[in-house]
Structure formats: C-alpha cells, structure tokens
C-alpha cells in the first residue's frame, strides 16, 4: 500500500458526506416526486379507483421490474457510490450523465504532467481505466 494516510482520510470524508447527503436528498426527491400524483389521487376530488392504480402499477412492473433491479446493480461498478445517488435521481444516465462525466475526465487527463496519484478515485470508477496516472 503506497497511499498516504491524509489522502485516505480525505476520500473517506468524501465517501461519508456523499453517502449521507446523497441518500438523504434522494429520499426527499423520491417523496416529493410521489407527492404530486398522490395529491391528484387522494385530495383533488377526482374519483379515482385505487385498485386501478395497483393494476396499472403491476402492469408497469411486468415490463420494468427486471430493469429496476438490474440497472442499479450493473451501473454500480461504473458509477461508484456517490454518483449512484445522483444518477438514479436525475435519470438519463447512459445518454447524458455518463458521456458528460467521461468527456470531463478526458479533458482533465489531457493536460500533461498533472496525473495525481489517486485523484481519479474521486470520480466514478468508470473513468479510471482512461486515466494515464501510474496508479491506474
């Protein structure tokens, strides 16, 4: 192990902060996104049959349930912990977030002589293979 303790401490702080706040903001986002339709269904005065919601949800689950499970599992090694909470709240992962993150990475890596020892660990693990530093 060649890592300096200070670096590890900084990365641990980063992991802790993004885990705590990423999770918290995601839960809040989830609740607010459900609050809108819940208002329409329960409080707007529209006569909505609640079994219809269950039927509709099950029909959607029939098509997407596998993806609900598979996507977070397959994206984890690409994104890493911090970005998971960001990406799965914002959506448009493969067509917007990942390409943008990759291009941003390569733009920084393109500068000669700046390959730090461990800074790529700050970023989604996906970008590490593209890094030119000795550690990657």
């Amino acid at each position: 192990m060649t890592t300096v303790t200070g670096n590890d401490a900084a990365l641990q702080t980063f992991d802790r902060t993004t885990a705590r706040w990423g999770r918290l903001t995601m839960i809040v986002g989830l609740l607010i996104s459900l609050a809108g339709p819940a208002y329409l269904v329960f409080f707007s005065g529209l006569e909505v049959d609640q079994t219809k919601i269950l039927t509709a949800f099950l029909a959607i689950a029939g098509t997407f349930a596998v993806i609900w499970i598979v996507e977070p599992l397959t994206y984890y090694p690409i994104l890493g912990q911090a970005s998971m909470y960001q990406a799965f709240m914002i959506g448009n992962i493969s067509n917007k977030l990942l390409p943008s993150a990759l291009i941003a990475q390569s733009a920084v890596n393109a500068k000669p002589g700046t390959a730090g020892a461990s800074w790529p660990r700050l970023w989604p693990s996906a970008v590490r293979p593209w890094c030119t530093c000795s550690r990657c």
Binding site: F14, L40, F57, Y76, M84, W119
Partner: protein
C-alpha cells in the same frame, strides 16, 4: 382545500388537472432537491480534491467540460419533452422526464397504465382520472429505481471495498468492461431498427473518433470538450442526408430503459 371547477373525473381537459399549483410546487421542490444535492457534492469534491492532487484549475475544467457536454443530450431530451406537454402537462413533464425519469420509460409506463383502463394517451378516453392513475403509476414505477438504488448501493459499497482489498485490479478492469459493454449494447440495439439508425450510429462514432484524434494531434482542448455535442448533432442530422428533400426526419433514436 381544492378548487372544484378544475377537477372533473370524466373531463378530457387534462391540462386543467395537470397544471394545478400543487403539482407546480412539487416540480419546483424536486428542482430544489437536485440543486441542493449538486451543491453538497460540488463542495465535497472541492474539499477532497487538494488531498488527492487535483488542482482547482483541473476542477474548473472538468466541471465546465461536463456542463458543456451535457448540453447536447439535454437538448435532445427537451425536444421530446415539449411534444409531451399536452399529454402530461408542464409540471409532470418537468418532474418525470426532465428531472427524474426519462422519455422512453415514462411514455411507455403511462401508455401501459392507460391501457389497463382501456384508455389511450391523448385520445377521447384519456380523462382526468385516467391521467391521475397513469401519473401515480408511472411515478411509483420511477420510484422503484430509487428504492433499488437506496437498498443496493450500501450493500454493493461493502462488497466493493472487500473486493478492492483482495484484488484492486478487478475493480479497475470491471468498470471499464461494464462501461464498454453497456454503451455497445445500447447502440447495437438501435441498429436493426432502420438504415437511418445504422447511419446515425456509424457517423456519430466516426465523428467522435475524428474529434478526439484531432484534439490529441493538434492539442485542441476545446475540441475534446465539444466532441460529444458535435457527435450528437452529426448523428441527429445524418439521416436527413439520406432522405430526399422534403422528406420528414425519422423518429429520434431512443433508448429502452430508464436512462
């Protein structure tokens, strides 16, 4: 407290229900949450950067490049979202398509949901109560991704740390392979759809390759930053070169899953 005139279960005036102030407040709330999360993340990155040898110049470049690169894909999302405004209303489109979900999932989910009530999006059977059920069901479906993420991420993090301790090389190879496979599978799935898809696929790949090659050879940093935008624009325009003048543009290339 509600305004009785705005809601009528049998009415097909979706926008009267879809533009309720409460829905607008929820849309702005989601906006606020994402902004707060971004600020927290940016601050966390800034604090960790010096300790890992990343200069503030590099930080600035990476933030700017990321932002510039996101313009192209975002425009593509906006164009499709605009077309859906009359079906879902502005607040629902903002939340479901702009902020949390994606066009392909939300429209598929909404039409599946409407189908279970023997209704059709935008048709004469698409009443306010059908909209409410479809909106609720697609939101619940979207929430499942977040729920799965909230459950799996801490578990995977533990496994990741263990794996890294045992064999760091694995965690370097796996993301690269996963990424390559993911992008290739997404692109490849589009190919059989039509000749236009094939042209779009290969022209964008060629332009991306050319941009990165030129950027490296001529040391053009800006070209690297704009490469994605240029590649997307090329892919977007390329099918029109094939079709005779006056021909309508084919459907935008879409993806199957949430993102």
């Amino acid at each position: 407290m509600h305004i009785p005139t705005a809601f009528d279960s049998g009415s097909t005036d979706i926008l009267a229900a879809a533009n309720t102030p409460i829905l607008w407040i929820c849309a702005l709330g989601v906006f606020a949450v994402i902004i707060v999360q971004t600020l927290i993340y940016v601050r966390a990155v800034r604090q960790a950067a010096p300790a890992v040898g990343m200069t503030s110049d590099e930080l600035k470049t990476s933030f700017r490049t990321g932002a510039v690169s996101a313009i192209g894909p975002s425009l593509a999302v906006v164009l499709v979202a605009v077309a859906l405004l009359t079906v879902f209303g502005t607040p629902a489109v903002l939340v479901r398509i702009g902020l949390i979900g994606s066009v392909s999932y939300e429209t598929a989910a909404a039409s599946i949901a409407a189908g279970t009530m023997e209704a059709e999006l935008g048709g004469p059977t698409y009443t306010q109560s059908v909209f409410a059920v479809a909106f609720m069901a697609m939101s619940l479906g979207g929430a499942m991704w977040m729920l799965a993420t909230l459950i799996f991420t801490p578990l995977l993090k533990r496994g990741d740390a263990k794996l890294r301790r045992v064999n760091p090389a694995v965690m370097i190879v796996v993301p690269g392979a996963a990424m390559l496979a993911a992008f290739f599978a997404l692109g490849f799935a589009e190919l059989p759809k039509s000749g236009y898809h094939v042209v779009a696929f290969f022209s964008s790949a060629a332009v991306m390759g050319a941009c990165l090659f030129l950027a490296k050879q001529l040391n053009l940093k800006w070209l690297r930053e704009w490469a994605l935008g240029i590649a997307i624009l090329t892919a977007w325009c390329s099918p029109t070169w094939l079709s005779p003048p006056g021909c309508s543009r084919p459907e935008p290339v879409s993806e199957i899953s949430k993102d």
